[in-house]
């Protein structure tokens, strides 16, 4: 990684400081919308737009923002941006917006957005905050796309609606795994991704808070 702060703000959250795999945030929407790839892509765009603009806006008023109302002001900004994004989806991507239903609205409660505005946007300059929001949105997107690809491919044999693995029902050879379309499978896939990332980047493994102590027979009296 380069040491330029802008590049670090943008690129670190993609693998080294990923909001989903390292901080395990934003899991609810990752479980809900990832049954197929297309709604997941829209969800990624929506979250990335909200995260970067909210982070930049909070940063823009960080010097005048009184500490006593800072969380509620951040929530107001995030909520407004989410409504604008939700309304735009209803206007420009009606079908997908119906499929996403409440989950775009629930970006308001996504910990990634408030987490970044509170820990980064409220302390750093506007440009850097925008890049940090963008980077975190992209980090979330990478995981969402990976999970959605696994689930749609194994669950339906398609990607973006196009048949990749021809189903037995349509005369092909692939027996779709229906479990991949149920929310628990997203847990498994995210778990496997976290395991893979932490095997590759061992420094992300958390220190155990508690270790079972092995006691020798002779000590135990």
């Amino acid at each position: 990684m380069s040491d330029s702060p802008a590049k670090r703000a943008l690129l670190d959250p993609i693998v080294d400081d990923n909001p989903v795999t390292l901080h395990v945030l934003g899991i609810c929407s990752a479980l809900a919308v990832t049954t197929s790839l297309l709604p997941s892509l829209y969800m990624c765009v929506a979250l990335t737009v909200v995260a970067s603009l909210a982070n930049a806006s909070v940063s823009a008023i960080r010097k005048v923002l009184p500490g006593s109302i800072r969380i509620i002001v951040q929530m107001t900004i995030i909520a407004s941006l989410v409504i604008v994004v939700d309304e735009s989806l209803k206007a420009f991507a009606y079908e997908t917006s119906r499929e996403l239903s409440v989950f775009v609205g629930l970006i308001i409660t996504n910990c990634i957005v408030l987490g970044r505005t509170e820990s980064f946007g409220s302390k750093n300059p506007i440009g850097l905050s925008f890049l940090d929001g963008l980077g975190n949105g992209l980090g979330y997107s990478v995981i969402l796309i990976l999970v959605a690809t696994c689930r749609e491919l194994l669950g339906k044999g398609t990607l973006l609606g196009y048949t990749i693995l021809p189903n037995v029902a349509d005369g092909g050879w692939y027996i779709p795994n229906g479990m991949m379309l149920l929310p628990p499978s997203a847990f498994f896939v995210i778990g496997l991704i976290i395991w893979a990332v932490r095997t590759w980047k061992a420094e992300q493994v958390e220190e155990q808070e508690y270790r079972i102590h092995e006691v020798h027979r002779t000590e135990a009296h």
Binding site: I61, V64, I69, I77, S80
Partner: protein
């Protein structure tokens, strides 16, 4: 936003807090309001397109990737007076607004409580129905229906064969039933159970219903019974109720009697 200077007003003072809260609210509310106003026409157009797509679907004319509005031109809209069951020609079916008619006390009536099984509340005196024609002959009659399920009002279209008695298809395009359970009403597998079912028996009594359990072949009523979905009985009952109301005497009953050519 006020200019930030080094020494003056303390950041935490009460006036400063109120001022910041006021400006943030002002900016955010105008942002949300303008987005809602600017995007409204597009959203309305999308909703209309979606309804048309569902009408084409139930008409059996929908082709994937086709231009919905072009296909929709082939469908004839007519306005029906529900009390007499006759077509009325003094309003243009294109501009007739069923939603507004339902709200207008002049153009709508209260549904008597004992008849209101589908919890419709009020209904417009007139309804817009759709006819599909092939070489001039009517091939399907499409009736808008609505009624309360478990949590929400279901909105859909029921298509009948030209005999006014045989179900051709049914779609529901708006509801808020339990996702994964009550939303079976929109599933293709359930929709496929409807075509061929009959609405009225020989005596003209309304028999069509969603049946709890599986209708067996030797059941004399199997022609009138659509299998329900276990675990979603109340949504299924809602569908039965809306059929009972809308195809009954207070709904499209008189109109369908005219179609079947029976004396009322």
């Amino acid at each position: 936003m006020p200019e930030v200077r080094k020494q003056p007003v303390k950041r935490e003072s009460v006036p400063r807090t109120l001022l910041v809260a006021f400006f943030v609210s002002l900016v955010c509310s105008s942002l949300v309001a303008s987005a809602a106003v600017v995007l409204k026409p597009l959203q309305v157009a999308n909703a209309l397109l979606d309804v048309r797509k569902n009408i084409l679907e139930v008409a059996g004319l929908m082709e994937p990737g086709a231009d919905v509005n072009a296909l929709f031109a082939a469908i004839e809209a007519r306005v029906v007076d529900l009390e007499t069951g006759a077509y009325v020609d003094d309003v243009d079916p294109e501009t007739f607004d069923p939603v507004r008619a339902k709200r207008d006390p002049e153009l709508s009536i209260e549904v008597p409580a004992e008849l209101d099984v589908a919890r419709v509340g009020r209904r417009a005196k007139r309804a817009r129905i759709y006819l599909v024609r092939e070489d001039g002959e009517v091939t399907r009659i499409i009736l808008p229906v609505s009624g309360y399920g478990l949590w929400s009002t279901l909105y859909g279209f029921l298509a009948l064969e030209p005999d006014g008695n045989t179900v051709a298809d049914i779609v529901f395009y708006a509801h808020a039933e339990t996702a994964g359970i009550g939303d079976f009403v929109t599933k293709a597998a359930w929709r496929a159970r409807w075509p061929g079912k009959r609405v009225y028996d020989e005596e003209g009594a309304l028999r069509l219903e969603v049946f709890k359990g599986r209708a067996t072949a030797d059941d004399p009523l199997s022609d009138y019974r659509v299998d329900g979905v276990s675990g979603a009985t109340l949504t299924g009952n809602g569908v039965t109720n809306l059929i009972r109301y809308w195809l009954g005497d207070h709904g499209y009953g008189p109109f369908l009697r005219n179609i079947r050519g029976e004396e009322s």
